[in-house]
Symmetry: C2
């Protein structure tokens, strides 16, 4: 057995996650040494403002406002970037890598935009860049891809990776709230930001999908190359009606292998109430991964928050210091800087079932006209639901149709034609229905 | 980047899992090299009978009846033990380790009994023993414990790790079948053995709990040191009645940290229908792990079968060949051969809620007598359920009581006293109710 390996660590950014990580490292030296056989010592907490650091009772001797001092300290082995955002965080990581420090980060926005060049820079300097904490908080999810499932060709990945959206959708589903009511509740509970745009628009989920899909499919996935829609336009009526039909709506990061192409997207979608992802409620995250050998596996846990994220960051630190991460970082050919660009399938090629809510006049012949258009596009009707109503019919009355599996481009064409029918009173709603992905397809 | 690492592999035992693993390795050289940067070559398939190997179309040049030949071949780096059982499998692993070959195994029975000495023998010979496939089939679960969650003190682990039992319990729950009916169906579908004793008695689950708890709590857990009960005596009446009360019954591997002690057991238990483990149906497995930093995480997938198990075995081979496994195997102090013995809490100290089904005479005063006994033991009543009935009252009529959280020893004493009441007609049924384990307790 080798002698005890030691490392000294600098944390940059002492907010919620930085503070929790610093506190963890400052108080866990003994337990870590007992369990991992490693000596991990927090040496610097770097920030401009130490209000949070002081509130947490961190030792003021750790406080440092000068990143250059930590990077110039030959004792520092690992820099943990937790400032968030893109520009300054990128400078922090680049300067740390150039100073030949390993870097651990939770910064999904930065990784979505610049992962390839940062990985290459790490490799050029003979150090590692680790980022388990960037997706799914404390869930050991990225490890499942680069280690546990490495023997598999991954065929598909479906993820609930934004706790804010999942909390809002759970409230809409379980309490029948409108989007606005559910968002307002989440904000009151601190589960949504004052400006929730990045979460509810699907942007944060798209960042994580870029990271996960790159590794899972061993392809360079450029940021902003796939369609992203959020939950802000979801209507409580559709959430409830989908529920009657046996579905739960989730904001999903979707990635599928289709021959040599990848089909990637972020959107709210209906999944069967019997699928494990449908059960993931409140702020929890979960990701289903379908491998050609393992079949369906799922990973579940807290996707955000100081302590869960600190668990993932500390896990990365341990793997770097014991040397196991370098072996996967240097041997596996799945990292963005070592893989070919992904060839992406267009959204119109996507195959799924669809929930269509048409807003039409309440008069004879409407269903015949609609059915004829769907039929022309080769779209089969799986179910029709039209409730008796006492609605203001100015905007039309809702007729809900679910389709058999079809191609999204055909659905778009059909909806454009249906919208032009005289009986069509307002914009139809279209929500993807995802059947359980076939194992061993 | 280092040069491409190579390894040659001998598989011992070509049954369902051995055959699937051999077939995987024989057909995946290209994809493995592309993804892992490693060259893995299957060199020997060792068995006495090659019927299955031939059926799978494996190259007959691989077939070998002489284990000694493979162990004497200096080109062989890794021996995969898939013969199952204890005695001969132990000889295979011991001789492979002594020949300084790394060993990968899926053999949970052997590991439950002899893990400590086998790990020590591996270490003494400077090689690794890896066993991801021994628990939870293809789920990267053991890795979550020795890698992803390493920064945590694990506080509890609850696992559904036997697909046969979970299939039977799912049938009892969803279709209202009796145990015998559900077992018979499972046998017809090949999901239960002709002799299902090891599965339904909880024995297989206990093997896996020994392995998982040893790693999770970094303690040597001796086999047969904790109470184990199976599902063979579960009555459909209780499964249904538990369902009415909001619970689902699962055969659980249970491990909790209680101060410096561990509380370990295998038993069927009621869990709330809202707990993620309640949703795990059919032959799937899942394990919930509660860490002091990460909170609740859960791992889900296929717990058995050729391909899922081959995925885990191949994952171990990859980690051994790229060198990452040696780092965790040599640095982490969580392996049975490097840890102190566990101090186990007695079953009587276990705290939970309980479902009690008493079989009593249908006459006034019964509930008063029963309540008085429970009250004497300090046991609070949470709910009482007595249906109107048209039963043969020879064995008494069922009165179901659920308790507040209490100590198991008190429940046993109370039940012994209740059994002696004149109104008590037959043996009461007692099923543990597990509330959601508190995160960050």
């Amino acid at each position: 057995m080798p002698g005890i390996k030691k490392a000294r660590i600098a944390i940059v950014g002492c907010g919620v996650v930085g503070g929790a990580t610093a506190q963890y490292l400052a108080t866990s030296e003994d337990i870590l040494t007992t369990k991992t056989g490693l000596q991990l010592q927090l040496k610097y907490v770097i920030d401009k403002d130490f209000t949070n650091a002081k509130r947490l009772g961190l030792d003021e001797k750790l406080f440092c406002t000068d990143l250059g001092k930590a990077l110039g300290d030959p004792e520092v082995d690992i820099v943990v970037e937790l400032v968030g955002g893109i520009n300054f965080a990128k400078q922090v990581i680049e300067s740390a890598l150039k100073a030949k420090k390993h870097v651990v980060t939770a910064n999904k926005a930065l990784l979505a935009h610049h992962q390839k060049e940062l990985l290459a820079l790490a490799r050029a300097n003979g150090v590692c860049l680790a980022f388990e904490a960037s997706c799914g908080g404390g869930i050991p999810l990225i490890r499942a891809i680069y280690d546990g499932l490495m023997a598999n060709r991954i065929d598909a990945l479906y993820g609930i990776v934004n706790g804010t959206c999942n909390y809002i959708l759970t409230s809409m589903t379980q309490k029948g709230l409108s989007f606005e009511e559910a968002l307002s509740q989440a904000q009151k509970l601190g589960l949504a930001e004052a400006d929730p745009t990045l979460d509810i628009s699907g942007g944060d989920t798209a960042h994580k999908l870029t990271i996960l899909a790159s590794l899972a499919f061993a392809r360079f996935v450029p940021w902003e190359a796939f369609p992203v829609s959020g939950i802000q336009n979801l209507d409580a009526y559709d959430v409830t009606t989908g529920g009657e039909l046996g579905y739960t709506v989730k904001l999903l990061a979707i990635a599928r292998r289709v021959g040599e192409k990848l089909s990637l997207m972020v959107r709210p979608a209906f999944i069967s109430k019997t699928h494990p992802l449908a059960w993931v409620s409140g702020p929890f995250n979960a990701v289903s991964i379908y491998g050609d050998t393992v079949g369906h596996t799922m990973y579940y846990g807290r996707g955000a928050g100081g302590k869960p994220t600190a668990s993932a960051i500390a896990g990365d630190i341990i793997s770097i210091v014991n040397g196991s991460y370098a072996e996967v970082f240097n041997n596996n050919s799945i990292w963005q800087d070592t893989t070919a660009p992904a060839s992406l399938a267009s959204e119109d090629e996507f195959t799924a079932r669809y929930y269509l809510r048409l807003m039409v006049e309440d008069k004879p012949g409407v269903l015949a006209n609609v059915s004829a258009i769907l039929s022309e596009q080769g779209i089969g009707i799986s179910s029709v639901l039209q409730h008796e109503h006492s609605l203001d019919t100015e905007k039309g009355i809702p007729v809900v149709i679910t389709t058999y599996k079809t191609v999204e481009g055909h659905v778009k064409e059909a909806l454009a034609k249906i919208r032009k029918l005289p009986c069509s009173k307002s914009e139809p709603v279209c929500i993807t229905i995802l059947d359980e992905h076939a194992e061993y397809s």
